[in-house]
Amino acid sequence: MYRTSPDTGRQPARPSGASLVAVPVVNSLDSTAGEHRLPTRTRLAAGVGMAVGSLSRRMGRGSGSVIGGRAILAIDPQALAHLARGRDVALVSGTNGKTTTTSLLSAALSLRGPVVSNALGANLPPGITAALAAASPTARQAALEVDEAWLGRVAAATDPDVVLLLNLSRDQLDRNNEVRRLAATWRAVLAERLAQGRAPHVVANADDPLVAWAAEESASVTWVGAGQRWTDDAAGCPNCGGRIRFPGDENAGDGWACGDCPFRRPGLDVSLDQDCVVLVDGTRIPVHLQLPGRCNLANAAMAMSAAARFGVDRAQAVAAMQDRSEVAGRYRTVTVGGVSARLLLAKNPAGWLEVFDLLSPAPTPVVVAINAQIADGRDPSWLWDVPFERLRGRLVVATGERSADLAVRLRYADVEHRRQPNLLAAIAEAGAHHGSQTGPSKVDVVANYTSFQAINRQVARVD
């Protein structure tokens, strides 16, 4: 496996416009290279883990990847490192867009050969380990989604070639406490990799000050202007504690800057314009995704930049992403009792700001499903950071385990709403309301993490 040699690594974070072509890229796959042999213990662990996972699956306990991965790591704590060795590894982390970006990156990397990925979003070490254990040995590339709090451990084990840092904002604060601590952890992880001479190439969202701060000391970075509408977690400068100023208008063309120190948005290597990704030399690459919205264009730009690092032609990479029409059930339309429901995921305020743009126009009803399990964060008070006032003029049906919290939020937002804790009944109720007004009933469903999974399960049962 090719790796950036440590001496080429020590270039300072490029200000603006340093040629992308000059950056060494990982060579194409060498199919003649000898296959990496796993230690006996790892092979045994993988065998047992897959059996456990398969048993769990047959008992109807979900995909079995997490419990299988736990079994593997219990038998061989080093299994993740052993399973990753010999593969080209890209890690994708951030608060929002991990699963989609990983999916788009897999599509692009498939042009080089088989790719292993934790496609269903099991993004802690057990899920990642299980995905690698189940992969064919011929899958010499790994596109792995990593929970933002676990990036350090997963990077230490998998020795990634490329790390994609998407964004950081408030999410699951009961677990992560403070967003900027995550940024500090990321920064420390990258510094440690650099000190060990194992610095990955970083593809970073330059529009997010916390990400920029985490990545600024890295040896080699592709700065992507991927956007970040939500700015309320980055108002305090991570560098000096002063105040970050954001351009009032998103299209102002100018980035954020600290008012009190020289920390400012790095010069962009890749930016977005309309439906195109624009390289620093002015090359425009048109992007035609089936996935909707500005945020997915940004995810594509991040994935394209990472794929380019592995030697994939950028235009071809973007073209390969076009066949993705849904990601782990997101963006697809299902029919529930005659109601056509489009499924969208939004699990925090930053995610919601992107989702508002994707909603069908009013008065199309919206079902909003809110849970507060561990994977969602136990504290749904973030609902008050979402400008639900924008849903005035349509019916909202509040559902999920924390529909009571949501109903109170909607009441204070003066949004017409009902509360129906049962997910499928909520979709039916919204559909009945809409159908009576305008013919065939169509609703948008916006769910947070575990409520989305619950809807996916229940819809599958109804089908």
Partner: protein, 267 residues
């Protein structure tokens, strides 16, 4: 309040707004509007001057570093001090409570001056961060029903003997584990029209009576509203909070017993 709009100042939502506490301002404003009173929310962002002429101020929770920035700024401007002196009401939550005290601990671990509007100090807790449902029995003289919220903080707030807590902790941690173990666990602090608590949620979404109490400090008594949905939420959250032996702060044998019981119940 009849001639001009009631003004609620939301102080530094970009620094002190991590846990949805800006919702408190929305709730206060809506509760007045639904009663036919004009109300305006004045959002004051970091770097802007805080007006001293508003009727009620809301200061929320935030992360360590922005919290320090906010405290420095508010001490420099002193408009919050002038407003309180003039008789404005003030709701402070979590980091907001901490900066209102005499001192608190900054991100570098160094003690920093607070606004000195509450007679308390906040130190760094020795144990685990307090995260979870918080249920508080307000002091009888407040006339408020039991309160529910969600706490998430590492700091421990120690009230001076003269300071009055908002109430006793029924479940959760509140002001903190390191407080005098011989006294009952308490949450928050009250000083005239300055009300402070560790309860997020936001606190006013789950406790409409607390919201009306705050507004009433300025407007006088208010007629009740239909709070069915808030009541449903309150009932749900109160039922969800783990039951905790009241009285002195918990010790490890109690914790062990509770843990064992909870295991048994699960099986």
């Amino acid at each position: 309040m009849s001639t001009s709009a009631f003004r609620v100042a939301l102080v530094y939502p970009d620094l002190l707004g991590t846990y949805g506490d800006s919702g408190n301002a929305v709730i206060l404003a809506q509760r007045l509007r639904w009663r036919g009173q004009a109300c305006e929310i004045v959002e004051v962002h970091a770097g802007d001057a805080v007006p001293d002429s508003c009727d009620l101020y809301v200061v929320g929770g935030g992360e360590d570093q922005p919290q320090s920035l906010a405290a420095r700024e508010l001490n420099r401007q002193r408009s919050l001090h002038r407003a309180v002196e003039r008789g404005a009401a003030l709701l402070a939550v979590c980091a907001g409570l901490q900066i209102l005290g005499r001192t608190f601990v900054g991100p570098d671990g160094v003690e920093q001056p607070g606004l000195d509007l509450l007679d308390c100090v906040t130190v760094r807790g020795r144990g685990r961060r307090a995260v979870g449902e918080l249920v508080v029995e307000p002091a009888a003289d407040t006339g408020l029903p039991v309160m529910t919220g969600y706490e998430n903080h590492g700091g421990v707030t120690i009230l001076s003997p003269g300071a009055q807590p908002l109430g006793r902790v029924r479940s959760g941690v509140g002001n903190g584990r390191d407080a005098d173990p011989n006294t009952a666990a308490v949450d928050g602090a009250l000083n005239g029209r300055v009300w402070a608590t560790y309860m997020h949620g936001p606190v006013l979404a789950r406790n409409p009576a607390f919201a009306d109490g705050l507004l009433g400090l300025v407007t006088g008594p208010l007629e009740p509203l239909d709070d069915q949905e808030s009541d449903a939420l309150r009932a749900e959250r109160l039922a969800a909070a783990p039951t905790q032996a009241s009285g002195a702060t918990s010790r490890w044998p109690d914790t062990l017993v509770r843990w064992t019981r909870s295991r048994i119940r699960v099986r």
